[in-house]
């Protein structure tokens, strides 16, 4: 990590022309989503007579990852929701030039004093706050759904779709990922894809911001049961808000292994909170389509990570672990959604 410190400092100095004595310390790699290498560090600098310090996060593109995503879209999403009711860290710098740190990256604020682990949230001391966390989690998701992407400046920053083809765009994308990356035949998810294509969902009334990976594990929470930051916007796009709702209640995120979605509450309660916050209705038939889609997308992600690991392009154990641990569970989730599990 030490070799990164002067390089990050050089970049920060380049971005902060009024700063002097720019130094970086305590660079530490952390788990922060499987799509990018994530580091925390402390930035020190002087402005005139003042000595300043800030704790920051660096998200750098790896050679291979679970999700091949556009860092510009992620950065734009963080910026768009800054100063809104949706808590996000401040996004500072986006850099596509690989000369600084070998790969493109962006830098954002570190929100300290929080946990993000889905395993920790189901245990004390957080377990006593599950009602509060659930209320906040799906309220925030409802607020994302209620937001106007035009006013947020995200139209143009995110791929162009229409309400009518948003479902097709997503299904086509993730089917292509499976086509390209599968290491073995996937008869369950192929059947699910055929079913989804035969009966598309009704289009949303308008386009909404879709976080794309909204789940327990991708937000920061504190010991008081408050959600302090929504993270991992790397799959943010425009589309149908039911996509996010369905993903958030995906069966594989039942971390407490007891049927509570996200390890927090019942599926019905999560939907009720979301409807109340978004002002939208979760049409059961449409939501069912997106729930099945969630299993297609999920399996595509696990397959893709497994491919990266097997090819040797990325040997992060989280890729092998996720692929092995969750592929079968995702297939079972698809079977459950289809009413095939007894």
């Amino acid at each position: 990590m030490q070799e990164l410190e002067p390089r990050i400092a050089a970049y920060a100095a380049h971005r902060m022309p009024d700063a002097t004595d720019v130094r970086v310390a305590a660079v530490e790699r952390i788990h922060g989503g499987a799509s990018r290498e994530t580091f925390r560090f402390r930035l020190h600098w002087r402005e005139g007579a003042r000595e300043l310090e800030r704790r920051l996060i660096l998200r750098r593109d790896p050679p291979g990852s679970l999700i091949e995503t556009d860092r510009a879209a992620e950065f734009a999403a963080y910026r768009a929701f800054r100063d809104s009711s949706v808590p996000v860290p401040e996004a500072l710098w986006l850099e596509s030039d690989s000369r600084w740190l070998d790969h493109p990256f962006f830098v954002m604020e570190e929100i300290v004093g929080c946990d993000a682990s889905p395993q920790a949230i189901v245990a004390p001391p957080y377990a006593q706050h599950h009602d509060k966390l659930a209320r906040q989690k799906w309220t925030i998701l409802g607020q994302i759904a209620a937001a106007d992407p035009e006013k947020l400046g995200l139209v143009g920053a995110l791929p162009e779709v229409t309400p009518g083809n948003a479902w097709w765009h997503e299904l086509d994308h993730w089917t292509r990922v499976i086509d390209e990356d599968e290491l073995e035949p996937q008869p369950i998810i192929r059947a699910a894809i055929r079913r989804l294509r035969r009966a598309p969902p009704p289009p949303p009334a308008r386009l909404h911001v879709v976080h794309g990976d909204y789940r327990t594990g991708n937000f920061l929470y504190d010991g008081e049961g408050d959600i302090r930051g929504i993270l991992d916007w790397e799959m943010a796009h425009l589309g149908d808000p039911l996509e996010d709702l369905a993903w958030s209640i995906n069966r594989i995120w039942c971390w407490a292994r007891d049927g509570r979605v996200g390890g927090l509450t019942s599926k019905a309660e999560a939907i009720r909170i979301w409807e109340s916050a978004s002002g939208l209705r979760a049409d059961p038939g449409a939501l069912h389509w997106w729930e099945l889609f969630s299993s297609v997308k999920g399996l595509a992600i696990w397959i893709s990570g497994g491919r990266e690991y097997q090819s040797g392009s990325n040997k992060d154990p989280v890729l092998a672990f996720s692929s092995i641990w969750l592929s079968n569970a995702q297939n079972r989730a698809a079977l459950e959604t289809l009413g095939k599990l007894s």
Partner: protein
């Protein structure tokens, strides 16, 4: 091999998770070591069943293809189903069982898509049978650590 493969994987996985990981500094490296420990316990589970689940599944798929031949309307698909139904696993070497399994499951996908396009009661019954096999296939691959 003695000590058994399963024992070695379990012991090494446990050591990584409970002894090595806590001794590594907090952060990414500790989590990676712990994750590798858990991964080895899953590999142990898969190693134990790796031959049996493939043999069982290959046999189930061949039997299903044999019953499907009378329902299928595409002559070329029917011919290939017949060939697959008559095939057998010549070796219990995992890589060869896996190769056969992949070929059979690829054919299952084709069969399933074909059956979905048919209206007859026999086709619907075959569709149910395919789904039953798909449910069984997930149970064969299920891990004790599965989230549900």
């Amino acid at each position: 091999m003695k000590p058994d493969v399963g024992t070695v994987l379990e012991v090494v996985g446990g050591k990584l998770l409970l002894e090595v990981a806590p001794a590594v500094g907090p952060g990414y490296q500790r989590q990676s070591v712990a994750l590798t420990g858990i991964l080895l316990t899953m590999v142990k589970e898969e190693w134990e069943r790796s031959a049996s689940r493939r043999v069982e599944e290959n046999a189930a798929l061949r039997a299903l293809f044999g019953r499907a031949a009378s329902v299928v309307t595409d002559p070329e698909l029917r011919r290939r189903l017949g060939e697959a139904a008559a095939s057998a696993d010549a070796s219990f070497q995992i890589s060869l069982l896996e190769q056969a399994n992949a070929a059979l499951r690829t054919l299952l996908i084709e069969l399933h898509a074909h059956v979905e396009s048919l209206e007859s009661p026999a086709a619907r019954a075959l569709d149910d049978e395919i789904w039953s096999e798909l449910v069984a296939s997930t149970e064969r691959r299920r891990f004790g650590l599965a989230p549900f």
